[in-house]
């Protein structure tokens, strides 16, 4: 089974973002960029499937600027076989990403698409569900474990009340949650090898998808700052403050 994995280039999760003074966006100049943490887990899962003989080939896809090659190379160094970069300097909305992915799915015919459940920049949590809807492949969102079961996939999902396990038909789109695995670090020899692995560069137009805006960001602002609080010296003082000053207990 071929596994397709999506990899998004985003700000590193440790970096504190700053909003630009003209309120047009956050400032991404000279900040450390990385693979979206959820996508890293998706890549790890696909590579493990290949190592255990469940997957025959792991293809990684990213959409974004030319520099997104770096994140694809990271995925190749982790063990993916080849990469596709759909280059676009415009920010692509989730629906557009899903439409392009649907075309790639048509071309590549993967048995499974593994995606992150959420991008940590836009926090949309929608692209995988959209891809599933557009392709008619079944959906397993927010998965913490998957297990293959013939032409079905057993998917354990993290839901508000606890865990839910579904049996879904293959081919399927699965979006992964943080507890699925712990991604490996690529070794130096694998980083070297990754440089020679195939990376195809395409454009949205190659897939016949026109980049249409469904929304417009009018303003980006920093969140309201919380007033600095105080340190209390003892539990007794804390309880007193909560009772008599904040009046919450």
């Amino acid at each position: 089974m071929k596994v397709l994995v999506t990899v998004k280039r985003v700000i590193d999760y440790n970096v504190k973002v700053r909003v630009m003074s003209d309120n047009s966006d956050v400032d991404l100049k000279n900040v450390k960029m990385a693979v979206n943490p959820f996508c890293e887990i998706a890549v790890e899962q696909a590579v493990r499937m290949k190592e255990s003989g469940l997957a025959t080939e792991v293809v990684v896809v990213s959409m974004g600027p030319a520099t997104a090659q770096e994140q694809l190379r990271t995925a190749l160094a982790m063990g993916a076989d080849r990469a596709i970069l759909v280059q676009s300097d415009e920010a692509l909305e989730s629906l557009t990403v899903a439409k392009i992915l649907a075309k790639i799915v048509e071309e590549e015919q993967p048995g499974l698409v593994l995606m992150g459940k959420q991008s940590i920049d836009t926090d949309n949590n929608q692209t995988g569900q959209m891809l599933s809807a557009l392709t008619g492949m079944s959906q397993g969102a927010f998965a913490s474990a998957i297990e293959s079961d013939g032409d079905q996939l057993k998917v354990t999902r993290e839901v508000d009340g606890g865990l839910q396990t579904l049996s879904i038909k293959l081919p399927a789109v699965v979006t992964v949650d943080l507890r699925m695995n712990e991604p490996r670090y690529a070794s130096l020899p694998n980083i070297m090898k990754a440089k020679k692995k195939p990376l195809d560069t395409k454009t949205p137009a190659d897939y016949g998808v026109s980049v249409k805006a469904h929304s417009k960001v009018l303003r980006v602002e920093p969140p309201a700052e919380r007033q600095a609080g105080i340190k209390v010296g003892s539990v007794a003082e804390l309880v007193d403050k909560l009772k008599n000053e904040a009046k919450v207990i």
Binding site: V17, S94, L95, Q118, I120, D121, D123, N124, N125, Q126, T127, Q129, M130, S132, A133, S138, Q139, A141, F142, K154, R157, E158, V159, D160, G161, G162, L163, Q164, T165, L166, S167, I168, K169, L178, R179, A213, H214, S215, K216, V217, L218, V220, E221, P222, P223, R226, A228, G229, I230, K231, V232, S234, V235, L238, V239, K241, L242, A246, V248, I249
Partner: protein, 309 residues
């Protein structure tokens, strides 16, 4: 203009998140209908009809919608969509599961997790784990939106007198079926709706030690939450995680115990009214958002806190 709110329920009653979502709908303005999708969910209709401000309750009660399988629920919602300018669902794991499908099938974008309505086409939502707040205008005719429920008050549960209509169409795509569920049972208030939340982090050091928090929670009528580190370490189940990728809470009082205050955790609790942090590291970032910080060993402070309540 009419708005369809897809409700969150447990087949017996509406969940509070539905009432918050109706509030967001009322701020957009226009007639509001409530859709109840599920299996054996007819009982919900009576109470739903009493919710203030609802025009009509639509009920789709069929085995195909058992456990609200995303493919089937979305297929139903898109059939109803032509009558509405806005489709709203709470940004719960259920809403997040089916709603983007609805958007894609209608060929429109989804605006996720709104915290404010500026106008019928313009909404405010957090991005970058709440470190930036974006004001976004939808350019689509049909607006598909998920609502961060902690950002909107609940509408009154009583006072309305909506008509109830049963839907007969059954959408069963046959792609997914439930094998099992492992749901937390608790007598405590729901994490996202509790007035007081006490959360433990890696500093709790073990599953057993969460009992210390339970004793405090018993006295305060609090819900118990956790950081991702505490969940990953197996101290508590995943449904207790608060944060960017867990639950968003905004209680009157949030008590963080042995939690360092990573941005991903803050994303889930920094809109709480009063924040208390108990941590032995005086430089822990959690103190930057805490109204009352106590630098102490939690194994001494928490039992003492419990005794003094």
């Amino acid at each position: 203009m009419a708005i369809l709110v897809i409700s969150e329920h447990d087949n017996a009653a509406l969940k509070p998140s539905t009432l918050n979502t109706v509030k967001a709908a009322s701020e957009i303005g226009g007639e509001i209908d409530l859709l109840i999708v599920g299996s054996g969910c007819s009982a919900v209709a009576d109470s739903a009809a009493k919710v203030a401000g609802i025009r009509k309750v639509l009920v789709a009660d069929n085995a195909a919608y058992d456990h609200e399988i995303a493919e089937n629920v979305a297929a139903l919602v898109i059939e109803l969509a032509p009558g509405y300018s806005h489709l709203l669902a709470p940004a719960t794991t259920n809403g997040k599961n089916f709603m983007p499908r609805v958007a894609a099938l209608l060929d429109v974008g989804q605006i996720s997790d709104i915290i404010k309505v500026e106008s019928p086409d313009t909404f405010v939502r957090p991005i970058y784990a709440g470190n930036a707040i974006a004001t976004v205008q939808s350019l689509d005719d049909t607006k598909v939106i998920t609502v961060r429920t902690t950002a909107f008050d609940a509408v009154a549960e009583e006072g309305g007198s909506a008509t109830v209509e049963s839907l007969s169409q059954v959408k069963d795509l046959g792609l997914s079926r439930l094998i099992s569920e492992d749901m937390a049972v608790s007598d405590r208030p729901e994490l996202t709706a509790a007035r007081v939340v006490i959360s433990g982090g890696r500093g709790m050091a073990s599953k057993e030690n969460f009992e210390l928090l339970e004793k405090v929670a018993d006295k305060l009528g609090a819900a118990i939450g956790a950081s991702r580190a505490a969940v990953d370490a197996g101290f508590v189940p995943n449904d207790m995680q608060v944060g960017q990728t867990g639950k968003i809470v905004a209680p009157e009082l949030y008590i963080a115990v042995g939690i360092s205050g990573a941005i991903q955790h803050l994303a889930g609790m920094k809109d709480s009214k009063v924040i208390v942090a108990i941590n032995k590291d005086e430089d822990a970032p959690i103190f930057q958002v805490a109204d009352y910080g106590l630098v102490a060993d939690l194994f001494e402070a928490v039992p003492e806190l419990e005794k003094s309540l």
